[in-house]
Subunit: 213 residues, 2 copies
């Protein structure tokens, strides 16, 4: 059985947990106290992940990290969600990289600063991040206008990756998806209806934290 | 023959150009006037890449984007640089994602702001980026201490990806690799000795630009 280390506030943990449910793979969840810097301790890094990141997926004796790499491995191993031919597989990887480089990266960083960081976000950093978020959300909004899923016409790990942080309450990021990105909001709603979906705060370990700033 | 759209200041273009030379694949280079916002024009986005990014690799009628996805496709197609078994291929993908998420992402953004942006970098944004750069450079420094390449004991696209922005002059980023990250600097020197390597300002189209700030 898989064992997944992470917490409810981590959309990157949710990406993997949701994929495992869609693939009907049972999984034990292990809480990581990320908000209290568990992943920064030398011991955690030595035992779990030198990159200091969650999620970590125990796959027998191996410890797998990087949600995009884990999703790719799971899709290949279980023969689903990876795209139906070489061209679709290329597109899936392209979106996974875009997600890691920009889409999740900027959005999740902003949400962390707005909701969970010990000090309020600096206005200059907000001004740095916000146009970058708007640029990549605009690209995805345009891509999803008139299509149901990011690649081809079926659910793939690209959808699970890019949506990972979009199931959290609006107040955590302050970005109102239905008002500003209606095609993204419709796609998120479509993903909520996929068998196996559950709210991250119900699916994953860890208590809710009220947004701070 | 492949055709690669990009410019000399783009380490992401360099990653692909260097890989093609290592794989001994001839390639036509097409200059993109990124510094004058060519990639932001609706026409460029419609014809070349809706994500608004370089490089773009013409592969017959297909236009491929995202350096990490292109590198993965090239390694698979030409049967080299991709890792020698499933475990190494997983590790390669893990480093490609770490690179896109953090290592190249923070470093290249900082270098752009310091050297090429129209206004000087805001001190608060510098304070946001610098600890993130230091964190991921520290992780790679530790990983490379005592090993020659990132994955296994041979050159892979993971090396080509993470090193893409490290062949530019120190003054463009202000980060002195040999002084601060000796294992990274030794690895960069090792990569300079790989047959096919050439300085980005000699390999790729576009004139040098003196660092601005």
């Amino acid at each position: 059985m898989y064992r997944l280390h992470g917490l409810a506030q981590s959309g990157n943990t949710f990406k993997v947990a949701f994929a495992l449910r869609v693939l009907q793979q049972p999984c034990e969840l292990v809480f990581v106290d990320f908000m209290n810097a568990a992943t920064r301790s030398p011991q955690w890094r030595a035992e779990l992940n030198p990159m200091g990141e969650i999620p970590v997926l125990d796959d027998g004796p191996r410890r797998l990290t990087q949600s995009g790499a884990i999703l790719t491995l799971l899709a290949r191993r279980h023969g689903a969600l990876g795209g139906r031919d070489d061209d679709e597989q290329f597109e899936v990887l392209r979106w996974l990289l875009f997600d890691n480089h920009k889409f999740t990266s900027y959005f999740a960083t902003w949400r962390y600063m707005k909701s969970f960081a010990p000090t309020p976000p600096d206005p200059a950093v907000r001004a740095f991040l916000m146009p970058r978020i708007e640029n990549c959300f605009g690209i995805v909004e345009q891509h999803l206008s008139g299509r149901e899923f990011l690649v081809g016409d079926a659910l793939t790990i690209a959808d699970l990756s890019l949506s990972g942080y979009l199931f959290f309450p609006t107040e955590e990021s302050g970005i109102d998806l239905p008002a500003r990105y209606p095609a993204i909001a419709r796609w998120v709603q479509r993903l909520r209806e996929v068998p196996g979906w559950q709210d991250p705060y119900d699916m994953l370990p860890g208590e809710r934290i009220a947004p701070k700033w």
